[in-house]
Symmetry: C2
Subunit: 665 residues, 2 copies
């Protein structure tokens, strides 16, 4: 018996180890999803045993294969495998404490909680869409650094839910269009969803659907190791396009009475069925114990990976591109970035251009592009409107991955997920644009950026009624508040070109916080006429113009409304009322300032907040008696100036409100 046949003979028991660990962990937790791990055990075993190259000794090794469990509720599949392969942070106690507070084994795989989890999954469709970004980043890195340094696969297991979610279409279309031959998706075709049989709600021919978007498609018995392996071989051999392997599986396979039913999807099997499964699988050991020889079989995968990594390290040591490779993977050179930005800001303060902040963003990007060689731009088909493409950027195509601008198409959700994947893969600093109102279209992926702490930058232009004629469907009113509500997300709404440059400084250097830039369609004057090297936007809010000899009122505004605040302050001054003007580009950063700084900025005089949006969230600056000039409902279609007048967001309105507060006070 040669080594290869030994390995294959082991696979049944290797898969059963997954099944038993999964059912036992779910049983111990008394909650969770045993069906997917049990049904997928054979597919995953063949994939890991024969193909996947990872080294548990270095879970951040750049050239490892990426594995994404898009059907995140089947998290025990990942935990069981990572335990068996030998990640040092995934011992049996972690499995025993599945879904318990403080355990690495969260209900769904959480990026950063345990090694070998490449991305957070659970919200369906996100994994497959994030993986598209990973696979794209791999090819883009390969184009820059060659096969010696970058040459790996991205494998995804997706369930019916992943393929029913609309985001999957955006991902499939994008992956097919870009010919991502290193992306291989396994579809867990078990015919079961939570409500029952899939034919309750879908009759789509998934194979035909994927083929329509340029994928290679194979269909196999998901419990036949040789068929699975042959399909993976074919998928790997087809380098011109991504591959789908439809795996017909029996959900909960191994549970003799409940397998094949939606009852094993999201509930423990129960003690009786667990015992029956043990019997059926010939597994006599108590929970969380695995025979030494089975462990040894799984550990061979780690050994193979270690050898691959050693070989890679040798190649890297010899490569002429190593230095550049490491720069790409490292954090941005903050010193260089600050230096060029200081020059840029000084020039802006001097020139005092009147430009839309979307245009100012493009100007900042031109500066960044020179010091951040791995900046990767893109837009959801609004390039000219979002101003996301610098002069030097070249399109990424299926024939040439060396470019750095991605045409994401009219697919905001797919774009956001792909950006998460690009950032998670490493090597690039991704940003992408759409209209701010369409943040809603990609919100589930923005939430994952924030939850994972992935520093993606969302360039969201047309940030208020100031976009004018396109009307209420396109006018953010509640959007800024809804984004400010999200934890760990920096929402920056700059007032002019200087603040926009500062916002980009923050975004480009962020280590673990994504950024949304809210940018105007309309031109705005430069309000920062005096240059400071200091990034004042990083304070979140600051006194842009202090009132001489004490304040009668403080006007606090963001973005395009800072201009209105300044005009109102002038009007008030002519009436003998001393108004300070605070620019407040980022609430999250302001909230992180020391309390005394915050108090000094807010002042003790009455305040008026000004933002062409709803008031929610302004309690950071305003007390109940303070005033607010903004929106209370949806916008309307008309020229921007007409809308500002119609909704009474004007210097005159601010002045009137300030006067009435000062009179009261």
């Amino acid at each position: 018996m040669n080594v290869q046949s030994i390995i294959k003979a082991d696979e049944t028991v290797m898969a059963n180890a997954i099944r038993v660990l999964a059912m036992d962990a779910v049983q111990a937790a008394n909650s969770g999803h045993p069906g997917a791990p049990m049904g997928l055990a054979d597919v995953a075993t063949v994939l890991f045993n024969r193909f996947i190259t990872i080294d548990p000794a270095d879970d951040t090794w750049p050239d490892r294969d990426r594995f994404v469990m898009s059907a995140g509720h089947g998290s025990m599949l990942v935990y069981a495998i990572n335990h068996l392969i030998g990640y040092d942070d995934m011992d049996a106690d972690q499995l025993r404490n599945f879904r318990q507070l403080g355990a690495r084994t969260a209900g769904h795989p959480e990026y950063g909680h345990a090694k070998g989890i490449e991305t957070t999954t659970g919200p369906l469709g996100q994994g497959i869409s994030t993986a598209v970004g990973m696979a794209l980043a791999e090819r883009m890195m390969n184009a820059r650094f060659g096969d010696d340094l970058v040459d790996h696969f991205t494998y995804v297991i997706a369930g019916d839910g992943c393929l029913m979610e609309g985001i999957s279409q955006e991902a499939i279309d994008l992956a097919g269009h870009l010919g991502l031959g290193r992306l291989i998706v396994f579809w867990d075709d078990n015919g079961i969803t939570i409500d029952g049989a899939t034919d309750l709600s879908t009759t789509t021919d998934q194979a035909a659907r994927f083929r329509a978007s340029g994928w290679q498609v194979d269909a196999v018995d998901g419990h036949d190791p040789e068929a699975i392996a042959a399909a993976i071989e074919r998928a790997r051999a087809e380098t011109g396009c991504p591959s789908l392997i439809a795996c017909r599986t029996i959900i909960g396979k191994g549970a003799p009475n409940k397998a094949g039913s939606h009852k094993v999807h999201g509930a423990p099997l129960g003690a009786e069925e667990v015992a029956a499964a043990r019997e059926a699988l010939g597994w006599s050991l108590p929970p969380f114990e695995v025979p030494g020889e089975v462990r040894a079989s799984w550990r061979r995968i780690a050994a193979r990976g270690a050898a691959a990594r050693a070989a890679w390290l040798e190649r890297k040591a010899k490569s002429a591109r190593t230095a550049h490779f490491e720069v790409a993977l490292a954090a941005p050179d903050r010193g260089a970035l600050d230096a060029v930005m200081a020059v840029h800001k000084a020039q802006l303060s001097k020139d005092a251009p009147s430009v839309a902040t979307r245009k100012a963003s493009e100007m900042a990007l031109e500066v960044l592009d020179a010091v951040l060689p791995n900046l990767v731009g893109g837009s959801a088909d609004l390039t000219g409107s979002n101003n996301t493409r610098t002069k030097a950027m070249r399109s990424v195509t299926r024939n040439d991955y060396s470019g750095d601008y991605i045409h994401y198409g009219i697919r905001e959700h797919g774009m956001a997920a792909a950006m998460n994947g690009i950032a998670l893969h490493g090597g690039f600093v991704p940003f992408g644009g759409t209209f701010l109102a369409f943040a809603d279209y990609c919100r589930p992926s923005i939430r994952l950026s924030a939850l994972m702490g992935v520093p993606v930058t969302y360039v969201m232009t047309h940030d208020s009624i100031g976009l004018g004629e396109d009307g209420p469907t396109h006018q953010p009113v509640e959007t800024i508040a809804s984004l400010r509500a999200m934890p760990n997300l920096a929402v920056i709404r700059p007032a002019d070109a200087v603040e926009t440059a500062e916002a980009w400084q923050i975004a480009a250097c962020s280590a673990s916080m994504p950024t949304v830039l809210c940018l105007s369609r309309q031109n705005l004057p430069t309000v920062r006429r005096v240059h400071t090297d200091e990034n004042r936007t990083a304070r979140g809010a600051y006194v842009l113009r202090e009132a001489p000899d004490g304040r009668d009122v403080t006007l606090i505004a963001t973005g395009s409304e800072v201009e209105i605040a300044l005009a109102a302050a002038d009007m008030l001054a002519s009436g003998g009322i001393r108004a300070a003007v605070v620019s407040a580009p980022c609430f999250e950063l302001f909230a992180a300032q020391p309390e005394d700084y915050q108090e000094a900025v807010r002042g003790t005089a009455p305040r008026v907040g000004i933002e062409a949006a709803i008031r929610q969230g302004w309690e950071l600056f305003l007390e109940r008696g303070d005033g607010f000039v903004g929106m209370t409902g949806f916008g309307a279609s008309g020229p921007a100036e007409d809308l500002y007048r119609h909704f009474n967001i004007t210097a005159a309105a601010v002045t009137a409100m300030a006067k009435s507060l000062v009179r009261k006070g």
Copy 2:
């Protein structure tokens, strides 16, 4: 020459009328999208001239065909047609004032702004997905009332953007699965998007994609009237499945120099090109003037529609089902509903069950189902978790549309859009369920519910960390705040079964405001033990337990945290501190109460807000010095009780905070 050939001979000039009106209106507005209306003029002319049955004299006639311009930026197509057909609210002045404030001719078609606009479009993909709901409602009404009363088509024009958005896949899959043979979609296959040629970002074979989901697909030259008409005939003849007609068009056709380029997509042609187009089209009249004979041709469509409506009225007068039909279309019988709900509430207050509010919602639905015969339920594949299906509900299938429960599949976005369509069509009161965290997946459609004022009810369960082990991806933390931010949306988070019943009373009778119900996974005690006929939830917030002899502190809580507030009040009482407890199920309704009522509820004593979510939005109740017990970041995976302790959302924490405030105050 017979009548039919006269009609056909007219079509070129009828289409050119659309082209000229569109280019002139965009030119006058100096903004807008001439490309789509000009490119689609031939398709739309054939569709309206030969097929569509509408009567401008009654734009609410229930059996009219529905026409949805999913590519909403091409709004001038709709306005031009409605002007030409003779809607009395669409005179030439409206066209002259295209995209101006106060005009009915908003940048994108806005439901309720003008007659003949069946739904608001502009955010891409929404129109086609809303139309699926309309087409489904048509079949469901047909199953109930027969061909005599309900027998019409739903026509959609969709652009490349609509088909690239992920929501379209959810809609296509659902429509194909349900075999919606009365749905006919025209794809404006012009090969152009804003960034340039579609092949920059997509290579999907759309015909194959639609066929994979069970659609009939035809491809025609979109400028060949006979080919278009033949395709529509085939589509109408195929009643077993929806149809796609891929129309190869030239964007901006009629503009001799700019047609076929992305430059005509979203910018005026310019005076010179407008003149050249006039020349090329042989159109000598000044802007907004249309030859009398062309108008007459278009008016024939109205005449045909008027005759059809007259015939329908005759059939209706004779139908045995007319009375029921009118009940279905009328507002719910509020008296009957209030009566049964009063009985239900009294029983609940007496029995004081400890149930999850998701279960209480099911109990309320059982009551509603008896008095609201046209209630239509559904869930995005979480029926058992959302508790959305009453005992009497039967599944809607392609073979039997007489049911009243829709398996929307794992397609929250498609579900929400379809519910908008069902509500807009008329005849049903739709509601649908998913987990609250996945409100993000359907937020663009929720926004349209709110913007249009469509009274859809979103049943969103698992509304906090109280869902436990599924972890942070599934735990809403910022979701409630982000929904409260949206104008014209009632977000109700009931504390017990009584408030849940009251919430359903509000939702079911809402005329123009959609509702989101935020419901617990975990059991909650009945806090409303004393029955009131009055719907206290309708006040938004109310004093659930007053402090005897004046308040030292007011505890204000929502949903599952009301129980905690009550326990804290008891603990405080034992320490001699008099605490009132306010239940605040709906912020929007509370904000609409008279100021003195609001002040009385809030009181003047220090306040503690309690909600297992972020504080944003609580300024409605709290001042800066007040306390808040809730979340400040994402949740975690673990049993619910552990999480509440871990995040310190407990009666002890509330008590401690209240004590410290009382001491300070």
